[in-house]
C-alpha cells in the first residue's frame, strides 16, 4: 500500500539487456514486484531492436499488472520508429545523464522527458513526431478510461492513499528540499494538494485527483517530491536501481534472425480454411484490445485433453503437452515446451502472438489463420535442455510465421 502511493512514475532500467530475450526476462522479473503495479512505467532500453509485436507484448505485459507504459528511452532507431507508430512517447536521454542520476531524480527526469517530448512534438514540423503526439494523446485518453474502471474497484485503497498523502505533504513543508529548481514550486504545490486533499476526502474525488496527477505535469512533479521524503523506500529502490544501472551502448545492435518455417497448404485445405468463421464481434482496435486485455497466469503442466479458454492474455508457466488446447482472446505465452494446439486472438485479433520457449505446437491458430507443424518434425518427444531459443509466432502478410528470438 505504501508503495502504491509512492509516485506515479517508475523507471525501469533494462539497459543492461542486449537481446530481446534478456529484455523480456528482466522485465518479467521486474514486473513481479509490487511496487511497479498501478504505475506509469518509463522503460530504459539499450541498443535492443524491438519490433512491433515485441513492443506490443511488453506493453500488454505491463498493462497486465494495471500499469501503463508511458515512455521509452531507446538507442535503437528501429525501436524508436516502432514505438512512435504505437503511440508510445520516445525520449532521448544521453548516456552520461542517465548514469549520474539519483533514484529520486530519475523519477523526476522521467517526467521531464515527458514534458520535453510533448513540447518537441508540438513544436516540430516533422510529420512522424506530430503523429506520435496525436497517438499519445489518444492513448492518454484511453488510459484514463482504464484507470477509472480500475480505481472504482479500488475505492478502499484510494482512501488510504489519500490519508497517507496528507502526511507526506506535511512532511514536505517541514523538510528542506535539495532540488533548487523545484523547491519553491513543490512547497507551494504541496500546500495546494494539502488543501485539495482535505477537501476531497472521499474516495470518488480521489479518482479525479489521480487523473489530474496524470495529466497535469505540475501535480505529478509534486508527487515526485513527496517520494523524496520517503527515505526508506527510496533506499530500497536505489538498491534496485544500482543493480540495474549499466552503461548503455556497449554492445553492437542486435540483429534478430528470422527463421521462418513456412509450409504450403493443400488446395483443399485452403478451401476448408476459408470456411473458418471469425465471430461477428471481431474487434477492430486491435492494439488497444491487446493491451487492455487482462492477463491470466497458469502454473501447471497442461496435459492431453485439457482446455483453457480465456478472454484475455494467457501466460502458462509449464509445458503444454500434445492434445491440450489453449485459446485466448489476446496473446499466449508458454514458459515451457508448447506441443499442443494454441489459438491466440481467438476473437479475431490479428496482432495477437503465440510465444514459447520451445515451439513444437501441433497447430498454431492466430485469429482466422491456421498453420500446422511440418510433417518432417515428427519427433516423439522434445529433449529438455538448458539452451532453448524462445520462439514467437505471429501473422505476417496473412500467414503465420514463427520467429526465433536469437541472440
Amino acid at each position: 500500500m505504501q508503495q502504491f502511493l509512492d509516485d506515479n512514475i517508475y523507471v525501469m532500467d533494462l539497459g543492461n539487456s542486449n537481446t530481446t530475450a534478456d529484455v523480456i526476462f528482466e522485465l518479467s522479473s521486474l514486473l513481479e514486484k509490487d511496487e511497479v503495479k498501478n504505475k506509469k512505467i518509463c522503460l530504459k532500453l539499450g541498443d535492443v531492436n524491438l519490433n512491433q509485436a515485441q513492443l506490443l507484448s511488453i506493453k500488454s505485459l505491463i498493462s497486465g499488472i494495471n500499469s501503463i507504459l508511458s515512455c521509452i528511452d531507446t538507442k535503437s532507431v528501429e525501436t524508436e520508429k516502432v514505438a512512435l507508430s504505437l503511440g508510445i512517447i520516445v525520449s532521448n536521454i544521453s548516456a552520461e545523464n542517465t548514469l549520474e542520476v539519483t533514484p529520486a531524480d530519475t523519477y523526476k527526469m522521467a517526467d521531464e522527458i515527458k514534458k520535453e517530448t510533448v513540447e518537441n512534438t508540438t513544436e516540430s514540423n516533422q510529420p512522424e513526431l506530430s503523429d506520435s503526439a496525436y497517438d499519445s494523446t489518444q492513448n492518454d485518453e484511453y488510459y484514463n478510461i482504464v484507470e477509472e474502471s480500475e480505481e472504482q474497484t479500488q475505492e478502499t485503497e484510494q482512501q488510504q492513499v489519500i490519508e497517507q498523502a496528507d502526511i507526506q505533504s506535511e512532511n514536505i513543508e517541514n523538510n528542506e528540499l535539495t532540488d533548487k529548481n523545484s523547491e519553491i514550486n513543490s512547497t507551494s504545490e504541496a500546500s495546494e494538494t494539502n488543501e485539495a486533499n482535505e477537501e476531497n476526502s472521499e474516495a470518488k474525488t480521489a479518482v479525479n485527483e489521480f487523473e489530474n496527477l496524470e495529466i497535469d505535469n505540475n501535480s505529478s512533479e509534486n508527487q515526485i517530491q513527496i517520494s523524496e521524503n520517503k527515505t526508506n523506500e527510496i533506499t530500497k529502490k536505489a538498491e534496485v536501481e544500482d543493480e540495474l544501472e549499466v552503461i548503455f551502448g556497449k554492445n553492437p545492435a542486435e540483429t534478430s534472425i528470422f527463421n521462418s518455417e513456412k509450409e504450403s497448404v493443400y488446395e483443399e485445405e485452403t478451401e476448408e480454411l476459408a470456411d473458418i468463421v471469425v465471430p461477428e464481434q471481431a474487434f477492430t482496435k486491435e492494439d488497444i484490445e491487446l493491451e487492455g486485455f487482462p492477463t491470466k497466469y497458469i502454473k501447471q503442466t497442461m496435459r492431453s485433453g485439457q482446455v483453457i479458454n480465456y478472454e484475455g492474455n494467457l501466460v502458462i508457466i509449464g509445458d503444454c503437452h500434445p492434445g491440450c488446447e489453449i485459446t485466448a482472446f489476446g496473446d499466449i505465452t508458454v514458459w515451457g515446451v508448447l506441443s499442443g494446439i494454441a489459438h491466440a486472438g481467438s476473437a479475431g485479433n490479428q496482432k495477437a502472438a503465440v510465444r514459447a520457449l520451445k515451439m513444437n505446437a501441433i497447430q498454431l491458430r492466430i485469429a482466422n489463420c491456421y498453420s500446422r507443424r511440418p510433417d518432417s518434425l515428427n519427433s516423439v518427444y522434445i529433449e529438455k535442455t538448458n539452451s532453448f531459443t524462445p520462439e514467437e509466432a505471429r501473422i505476417v502478410n496473412g500467414e503465420i510465421v514463427v520467429f526465433k528470438m536469437n541472440d
Binding site: D275, Q363, N378
Partner: protein, 278 residues
C-alpha cells in the same frame, strides 16, 4: 476355408472389448490398404477423449474439426474429413480429444455413417475399448464387425463377451475374427493358444491372422501404416485382410516360416543355445 461374402458392404466396426489388442492399428492399416487398392475409404475414430487413430496415420497436425464438432453442428461433415497425406482416397474423421464419450450419441453417429456410406466405398469405425456407452455408440451405425483379439485368455474372454453383444445388437449382419499378435514360435512350443484354438473357443470365423511384428511399434511412432512397408509380414497380412473385405479369396499367410537367411541362422543359433542349456 471360410467362404467370404462377395463383398462387405457399408459400415465396418472394428472392436475388441479388451484394450491394447490392436483395434486402432487394424483400423489404420485396413483403411490404408483398401484405399491403396483404389477404394474410397473414410475412417471414424469414436474413441473420444483418447484418440489415437490420427497419430497412427500421421495426421495429428491436420485436424481442425472433429466428430464432436460435426455432431454439434459447428462445421459441415465435409469440413471435418481430413485427407490422408499419401492417399487421397483415404479420409479420417477424428475424435475430439478434449471431450468424453457422452458427447456423441448412437443416433447421431448413425446419421453420420449413413451420410458417409453414400459417398464412400467403405466406412470403418474404430471402436473404443470397453462395453459401455462408447462401444454402443460405435456399433450403432455398423452393418459388419471385425472382432480383434490376441491369443491370450483375457482377450479371448473379452472377445466372447463382445461377440455376444454384437449378436444382440441390431444392424450387425456379420462379424469376423481377426487374431492379432500371433507368435508362431510360442504356438509351436505350446506356450500360446493356436489360431484354431481361438476360433474354436469363440466359434467364429476368422478374417485374418496378423503375426507379431516389432515394425508395428516403429510405424506407429512414425505415423505411417505398416502396410507401406513391403518387407513386413504383418503389413502383408493386413493387405490380405483388406482384400478379403473386398470379396477376394486370399489364402492365409504362412506365418510359421522364418522369413530370411538371417532369421534362420538366428533360429538355428537359439536352438543350439537351448540344447546347450539342457
Amino acid at each position: 476355408m471360410i467362404k467370404e461374402r462377395i463383398r462387405w458392404q457399408g459400415v465396418i466396426v472394428i472392436t475388441s472389448g479388451k484394450g491394447g489388442v490392436g483395434k486402432t492399428t487394424t483400423t489404420a492399416n485396413i483403411g490404408s490398404a483398401l484405399a491403396k487398392n483404389g477404394h474410397s475409404v473414410v475412417l471414424i475414430d469414436t474413441d473420444i477423449g483418447l484418440r489415437n487413430l490420427d497419430l497412427l496415420l500421421g495426421l495429428e497436425n491436420r485436424i481442425v474439426y472433429t466428430l464432436v464438432d460435426v455432431v454439434e453442428e459447428r462445421c459441415k461433415l465435409k469440413q471435418a474429413l481430413v485427407k490422408d497425406k499419401k492417399n487421397p482416397n483415404l479420409c479420417l474423421l477424428a475424435a475430439a480429444q478434449t471431450r468424453d464419450k457422452s458427447s456423441v450419441t448412437a443416433e447421431q453417429l448413425k446419421k453420420i455413417t449413413e451420410k458417409l456410406k453414400k459417398d464412400y466405398d467403405f466406412v470403418i469405425v474404430d471402436c473404443p475399448a470397453g462395453i459401455e456407452q462408447g462401444f454402443q455408440t460405435a456399433i450403432a451405425g455398423a452393418s459388419e464387425a471385425i472382432v480383434v483379439t490376441t491369443p491370450e485368455m483375457s482377450a479371448v474372454r473379452d472377445a466372447d463377451r463382445i461377440i455376444g453383444l454384437l449378436e444382440a445388437a441390431e444392424g450387425i449382419e456379420s462379424y469376423k475374427l481377426l487374431i492379432n499378435r500371433v507368435r508362431p514360435n510360442m504356438i509351436k512350443s505350446n506356450d500360446m493358444m493356436s489360431v484354431e484354438d481361438v476360433e474354436n473357443i469363440l466359434s467364429c470365423g476368422k478374417i485374418g491372422v496378423i503375426p507379431e511384428d516389432t515394425g508395428i511399434i516403429t510405424s506407429t511412432n512414425r505415423g505411417e501404416p505398416i502396410i507401406n512397408n513391403e518387407k513386413s509380414l504383418a503389413g502383408k497380412a493386413y493387405i490380405n485382410v483388406a482384400r478379403r473385405i473386398n470379396g477376394e479369396e486370399v489364402p492365409f499367410l504362412d506365418i510359421d516360416e522364418p522369413k530370411g537367411f538371417v532369421e534362420r541362422i538366428k533360429k538355428f543359433l537359439s536352438g543350439l543355445k537351448q540344447q546347450g542349456k539342457e
